[in-house]
Symmetry: C2
Subunit: 398 residues, 2 copies
């Protein structure tokens, strides 16, 4: 049958990333491609126990429809979680989302029309770029360096948008252990970003999935904390802290905005499952999330160290990489003449995979960059995989 | 902060239904308002047992990210479920959705632009009307009678759309135990609808959440079955069969369409939780869904009978109602001069609640109708609630 579809449907492009990712499933390939937590961390016994308790005590709630905005006791638990990690959020500032990807979806629906200007880091999170592209938004990328978003260049980008008689709908940033760049925004830049956004009255979307996964000391104060929530829309998820299988996240913002978000969410999925909300609430109350986050840190720190060590040992001159203080990803820059996509088939032939950097650039730049994940592979796989990758890059350079 | 939002945001209207529903929470109010399954049916012990098994055997899968299109073993289980209920679906014709509301959301994104014509029954499901309205679609309602959609009038509506130089993006129908009308589409009408849609090359969205909840014999063959899937997009959910707490549904359609749907779903929530998919898969494999559906039928049939009996006993002349053969809802038509919204405060004063019929009409008509749910209240509450409601209606008539 021939369907007459929406404009949005016409903007869906078969992702070359997905095609490349399929190749990574070949036997023997060491993949640095995905962003998967290590399943060795999954708290199977706790979840079994907690599920039983939740169902026995309130099965009538857990298996029923719930409020669109979220189960009150889950909201209470996540507010406590945030407080434990230094962030003050009120229950009325929260709308639960079925994953933080749903958070991006809701914000896309609520804020973006075709050609709406939206500002984001270059590189930025692939899933957000996809959602913005779906809406036909006018994405304006701002380069990053080791201190995160180049706020000096942000001003230029915003000036340009204003010159065109438009206004950015929001500025989308991932300040902590950025995906894919593996860097954090410095305190100075955070302050500068907030001053710019406030002066121009542009909301900031602060996407912060990796914040808790710090390997040394505490992360810098969030934009939400620095601005006391004013003008900030926080996007959070429990997926990266320990295990993603429940797809649970939330948005935090001004209560009037949260009301609007809940109205859109109602048309999107009515409500996030009460079942998993109540299980996670109990998991947090028992202190297991905090313990789990500590375990994740302990698990990922040596993996990152092994990757940095292997990169240092094997990579040829001219290849550089970020040194993340947390999170799951490390960013590699190849010499200008090497195209990460062009050498991908050789990488697969050498049984190693990554994600090409271009995919994270809203303007199609970044040909000589790539993203490596270190949370999923083992230390041994990391050592061997980086050795293989270095071989491929060396070949490309000769 | 003042936000500059999308056109979509401007179309969000604070639902008067939600305001009315708030009133139903007053103590002592017997509510026929929601569409909740009876929690007495919830299979708590089974879910505890199955969760333990799933987590022990494949916790690494259950708590990890899963494929956008759905977990293969859940798709296998639901294909088997469909076969058990007489519907032939191939795995590649399925995309799992996080509730059937997400199904409507995905189809709305994929098919509807501002002013796109879409045809639906009058009355129709509130959640779909909300999603279509959000998109700014041009909704064209077709009246129903006791045999369901008036297919003769459908032709007129489609002619009108064509005369305007447009084409309906799809025809949205709920053929079995329709929500809210409580009627099913006759075999003759099903055939007529399919001939019309095929001749004009317009896809049909068949929303079928109540199909399994039949109280006498088997339901009529679905449009999907009659058309062998050609030109039909099936929308299904497990929420109404037994318990909704896992928010699990799926879309079925031609494989190329399913691929497009999965592309949109990726931007919407990446994937539906593997955790709940694997639990439900095992629940279905064990035959518990079928057993549960039988229990639901046994539970709801006497409730419907009690409601019909009470209506007959108490309602004044001029009030009519549907006699559903299954599902959860019954539709009441009041004498022309009685406005269901106007008498709502008196109903609450008399401690009984319903949903006003207007909410289900895409064109704001239906002032003298209302929807009653009989799945959630007890038989005693149904008897007493209908008595109270009849009192209110009689008062309005004097």
């Amino acid at each position: 049958m021939s369907y007459e579809m929406s404009k949005l449907a016409g903007r869906l492009v078969s992702s070359e990333i997905r095609e490349l990712l399929k190749m990574t499933r070949k036997p023997g390939v060491i993949s640095f491609g995905g962003g998967l937590p290590d399943p060795a961390l999954f708290p199977v016994d706790d979840i079994i126990q907690i599920t039983e308790q939740v169902l026995r005590e309130k099965g009538y709630l857990a298996l029923q429809y719930g409020p669109t905005i979220g189960e009150p006791e889950f909201i209470e638990a996540l507010v406590q979680h945030q407080a434990d990690f230094g962030e003050v959020v009120a229950p009325e500032q929260v709308c639960v989302t079925s994953s933080s990807q749903q958070g991006i979806d809701l914000l896309t629906l609520l804020f973006l029309d075709e050609n709406s200007p939206v500002v984001l880091e270059k590189p930025s999170y692939l899933g957000s770029i996809q959602a913005f592209r779906r809406a036909g938004a006018d994405m304006r990328g701002v380069p990053m360096d080791d201190d995160g978003l180049r706020t000096d260049l942000l001003e230029e980008v915003l000036d340009q948008i204003e010159k065109e008689g438009k206004r950015a709908r929001f500025i989308y940033v991932i300040p902590d252990f950025q995906n894919p760049a593996g860097v954090s925004m410095s305190m100075e830049r955070r302050g500068h970003l907030l001053r710019i956004a406030e002066a121009r009255n542009i909301p900031i979307v602060e996407d912060s999935p990796y914040r808790e996964l710090t390997f040394a000391g505490e992360p810098l104060p969030s934009l939400w904390t620095l601005a006391k929530g004013r003008g900030i829309i926080g996007m959070k998820t429990f997926s990266k802290m320990l295990f993603p299988g429940m797809r649970m996240g939330w948005l935090q913002g001004e209560p009037e905005l949260i009301t609007k978000i809940a109205m859109v969410k109602q048309s999107v999925d009515l409500c996030t499952p009460s079942f998993t909300q109540l299980i996670l609430a109990e998991f947090i109350r028992r202190g297991r999330m905090r313990k789990g986050i500590e375990a994740s840190r302990e698990c990922y720190r040596p993996k990152l160290e092994a990757m940095l060590e292997a990169l240092k040992t094997h990579m040829p001159e001219g290849v550089t990489w970020s040194t993340p203080g947390g999170g799951m990803f490390l960013w590699v820059r190849l010499p200008e003449q090497v195209d990460a996509k062009a050498i991908f088939p050789q990488a697969i032939e050498n049984k190693v995979a990554y994600v090409i950097g271009k995919a994270f650039h809203c303007d199609g730049s970044g040909h000589n960059s790539l993203r490596l994940n270190y949370s999923f592979p083992s230390v041994e796989q990391i050592r061997e995989g980086i050795r293989r990758l270095a071989t491929v890059i060396k070949q490309a350079l000769t």
